[in-house]
Amino acid sequence: MNLRRFFHAGRGDSPAKRLVIHLLLILACIVAVYPISRIVSISLRPGDRLLSTDLRIIPQDATLESYRLVLFGDPVTQRASNFLLWLWNSLVITVLTAIIGVILSASAAYAFSRFKFPGRGPGLIFLLATQMIPAGMLLLPLYLMLVRLQLVNTYLGLIIAYSVSAVPFSIWILKGYFDTIPIDLEEAARIDGTSHLGAFYRIILPLSTPSLAIVFLFNFMSGWSEYLVARVVLQKEAMYTWPLGLWTFAGQYTLAAGRFAAASILIAVPAMVLFLYSSKWLVSGLTLGGVKG
């Protein structure tokens, strides 16, 4: 194949320049992906060669032993694996968190985007200011609150603790996106007899799919791999979410490296598929601030 046609590009860029651009991008892609491929390679190593300085991605005599240990427990010590339970706990908690987060932020963002109510500007600044709250600052008050409500070691406790953590950021994203939708569309619908709220549900929400998907994703991800709050709220092993469980594998490098890597892959793959699937919306959905398209 002709090199020039292969690296087809627009006007302006000469073939040499295009080649350099492709090389730079390929290099960047390798840097981005290689550390992740390392986890795959460790998870495939046989048990006696976990600690190797091999740099190949698929190791020699690759085996799925680690995956079996993680999923079904250790047949030698008769120790069952809690991995699926942890995964289930995480799933229940984060899906619910994400649903609540999307509902809260979509409706609030619509108000910020379409109404000039008193306190709108300060409100947006306030939302940005909540992002300045140092991590861990609210943990103790939240914990004491959950203790008093008897929600420690329950799903609800963690759901409540997570539910609004991504909401301020989500409101910003959604508001930015709603701003790009022409107001004429709603006005036309309202002339046809739809209520204001009806226009929101029937016109704005369907048009905002990319941005709603991104916001769901952020809310989901913020809870999905959260470790530090979970460590404080959940103390029973049966209630652990996967980051807590995984840490018990990661504690020592030597013994559990294979299981740790295999568990990581099993957790990361669904999350990454979800993320990459929605990445086609990522660029269009993530309109931070007032870019009117």
Binding site: L84, Y110, L128, I133, P134, G136, Q150, K175, A268, L288
Partner: protein, 397 residues
Amino acid sequence: MISLTPEVMLQSFLTVFRFLLLILAALAVLETVLYTLTHRRPKNAAVGLGMLALTIVLAYAFRSFVLPAEGLDTPVKAGIGVALLLADVGLYWLLSNPHVTRLGLAYLLLAPALIGISALMVYPFAYNVYLAFSNMGMMTIRTFTVSLENGIANFRSVFTGVVAHDATFWEVLLRTIVWTAVNIFFHVTGGMALALLLNRPLRFKGLYRTLLVFPWAIPQTIACMALRNEFNFQFGFFNTLLRNLGLTPINWLTDPTWAFIALCISNIWLGIPFMMVVILGGLQSISREYYEAAEMDGASGVQQFRSITLPLLQPVLTPAVILGTAWTFNALNVIYLITRGNPQEKTDILVSSLYKAAFDFYRYGFAAAFALVIFGFLLLFAVVYIRATGGLKAAWE
């Protein structure tokens, strides 16, 4: 040892399902009542009473189905009751005021998020301020006292004492500033470079973009734990590479400077995709016509970048940099999971010292004061930055 059985799954599903149902019911009631109030503007008290009755029913349902409330202290119960009552009365008063009615829908839409943020961010924040004036610690968790002297002592020891075990506030502050500056610089330049490369007509653009967001797509906890292992002296990837190149391996996790560099490498790797995506979104919304006009006038690529791209990216870049700064400043996960601030707290940043002060050394009152100081610094930065760039105006006009 409990493992995942169908019963466990069913049970957790039911718990959560009831909770979700009740939240939705509460929202529906709230919204319906608000809607009636704002759009029909009642002159009678019937709607107000109905609202009250529904609140009581919901609170009761919540209490019996969701919260196992037997052991709740009476003050807590009374507090929740009074709060609900006040909320009802306040809303009724607010919404029967004709002036508000015009914007009724806005308040109706804002209410759920406002309630959530108030309960889970504003209230804990206020409580944190209260704690900053207490001498609460492990031993005094129930018997702590609140006084101005305690507050002054807490704030004074933030600035003069040690914040966790060894490190002083100023040392950690300086390191945090370096940490944030280095990270944001590389996030923005790296993200900008990749976005500019991707914003050309190019083959495999989608593929490149997908591969480049990998560090963002992988759950951060996993990325951090995995990177921690890659910095291992004997078996980690970095040292293996150095050995293969014939160089001396580095004590990544035991040498303070290298440990800090290791953290920077990790966080830069994690943070570039976000900036790339945000900047790419901004670039795509800039009309081609500007560039065509500039080319017509003979402007060079650099000139175009400086006088078209950068100014038009400002509305996107400002919030992204503010958020990025706040996140980097708050990158507790990265620090905690990779080095834990070791060796000798030489790689701690403010938030990881804060976490240690509160949850390793149980100095709750001190930690609360410390947290307020950190919050103040971040807020100050954001205000100065927004003033300097003026880039947020577009967002609320």
